[in-house]
């Protein structure tokens, strides 16, 4: 992701641009960044922001994990087994382009208005991103690896364990990175109804009250949330993909 210094410089540049735009626009809809930073600091210190941050983090994380456990095994199998690929791929191509968030009413009828519906919607959107990438990763594995496994007498299951899964992990990690961005964006949508907790709620609520500093506190917290997810992903990737040239 870059060194700590590079990240710090990027953050400074973004804050600088923000400050400049705020001064030029001179609108209450874009408060100056130091006001927002101060607000975030205060709310973190008194703990009020921490709760919402934790709840949003949990919803996004559970959504991603739910999608991952479903999409990776299915993607690997569809990618690696030609007959499955032929039969399942049309379903994927038909269902992937649908704007899945419009299924919200149905999801609410099925699962109620609680946390599970929110997590499920995040999972549903992210599921397809991970599925398509994983399928392509498993499909594009060099055939020589399979020949090599065959000469060693491997069973089909052993092919999955020793070749298909490990060979696909770098691309699955890329899919995860895309999913983090998507899940935080969906988070805003699912937290704008039937909840009084979470960063999405803070944004909607401040918006309604025209409290723009709080609004940007919510936005900034979402950025921080996504950023922490990326940091964690980098760690995991370093562990799982030690073999890839970095």
């Amino acid at each position: 992701m870059g060194s700590k210094r590079d990240i710090f410089i990027a953050a400074l540049i973004l804050l600088g641009l923000w400050e400049l735009s705020a001064l030029l626009l001179d609108s209450i809809a874009l408060p100056e960044p130091w006001l927002v930073v101060k607000d975030i600091g205060r709310k973190l210190a008194d703990g009020s922001l921490l709760d919402d941050l934790a709840i949003s983090a949990a919803r996004a994380l559970l959504g991603i994990l739910l999608a991952l456990t479903a999409a990776v095994p299915l993607g690997l199998a569809v990618g690696a087994e030609e007959s499955l690929r032929r039969r399942i791929s049309p379903f994927i191509y038909l269902l992937y382009p649908i704007p899945h968030v419009v299924l919200l009413p149905l999801i609410i009828i099925l699962f109620g208005i609680g946390n599970f519906s929110k997590i499920f919607l995040i999972a549903l959107v992210v599921f397809f991103q991970i599925l398509v990438t994983t399928r392509d990763a498993a499909k594009d594995i060099n055939r020589n690896y399979f020949y090599a496994m065959q000469t060693l007498g491997a069973s089909r299951w052993q092919m999955y364990v020793h070749v298909i899964m490990p060979a696909s992990i770098p691309k699955i990690m890329t899919a995860m990175r895309i999913s983090v961005g998507t899940s935080v964006a969906i988070l805003f949508f699912v937290e704008s109804f039937a909840t009084t907790r979470g960063l999405g709620y803070i944004i909607m609520d401040s918006w309604g009250r025209s409290d723009y500093v709080s609004l940007y506190t919510g936005i900034g917290s979402m950025a921080m949330l996504g950023f922490s997810f990326y940091l964690i992903l980098d760690r995991i990737e370093k562990r799982l993909c030690r073999w890839t040239p970095s």
């Binding site: 020589n144 020949y147 090599a148 000469t151 007498g153 052993q158 020793h162 490990p166």
Partner: protein, 247 residues
């Protein structure tokens, strides 16, 4: 004993079956060594795939006496980049569900024999071509095969590493009493390592000549006059094939 009887092989190419190998028959005696040589695209690799059971012939048969344990080294080594040297070498044993202590003992011994000590935690991508080739050889030997199939095992190596590894293969072949079958496009390599040399024609591959080469296996064979004589025979045969196709 490996017995190949009138084997034919076709590949489907856009619904048309194209012959790859035609009427291939030869034998390899037990504990012998055999080099398969021919112009590129002649079906050498397909022949090795047939012998090692990765492909099935369209007609004819391949009979290998007993049901021997085989080791195979594929082109470009066929190592798994996501596995360490240790894991790559031990993989065949892991797949056979051998005990951990057994695997450790066997792999450690092979690491020592192949001069790979200290590199067990490296990944293939971190090794030179010559070392990757040793890992591939160690992996093929880990299950103690009676037959060793090698597909151009040394083609991507520089001349010196190549000679060193040719000597290593020779040592292995003699010390472990195995049958070695090697595909190569190098005339010198075929003569140095193959007691029997099968010369294939251009595609579709037919047998042009079978050269018996009893001198193979002597470490200083490379310097002998007979070695050059044998190389000359192969060169003439392959050249004649080229000219014959041009006219």
């Amino acid at each position: 004993m490996i017995n190949v009887r009138s084997v034919n092989l076709c590949f489907d190419h856009q619904t048309v079956a194209r012959p790859v190998l035609q009427d291939i028959s030869f034998q390899i005696p037990p504990y012998g060594s055999c080099a398969i040589i021919g112009p590129s695209g002649c079906g050498k690799t397909s022949l090795l795939f047939l012998l090692s059971g990765l492909l099935q012939p369209d007609s004819g048969e391949i009979v290998i006496a007993g049901t021997p344990n085989c080791g195979t080294i594929l082109q470009n080594f066929g190592l798994f980049p996501w596995k360490t040297v240790y894991q790559n070498i031990g993989l065949g044993l892991v797949l056979q569900r051998k005990k951990k202590s057994f695997i450790q003992e066997r792999v450690t011994r092979l690491l020592r024999e192949m001069g790979l000590g200290g590199f067990e935690e490296h990944y293939p991508g971190q090794l030179s071509g010559g070392m990757q080739q040793r890992v591939a050889l160690a992996r093929a030997l880990a299950t103690e095969p009676e037959i060793l199939f090698m597909d151009e095992p040394l083609s991507s190596l520089d001349a010196l590493t190549r000679e060193r590894l040719q000597n290593l293969i020779l040592d292995v072949w003699q010390a472990k009493r195995i049958t070695a079958v090697l595909v190569t496009h190098s005339i010198e390599e075929a003569v140095f390592l193959g007691r029997r040399i099968i010369v294939l024609s251009k595609r579709p591959g037919r047998i042009l000549r079978i050269v018996d080469n009893p001198g193979a296996g002597e470490p200083d064979y490379r310097q002998s006059e007979y070695f050059f004589h044998q190389c000359g025979i192969l060169r003439e045969t392959l050249k004649g094939e080229e000219n014959g196709q041009q006219t």
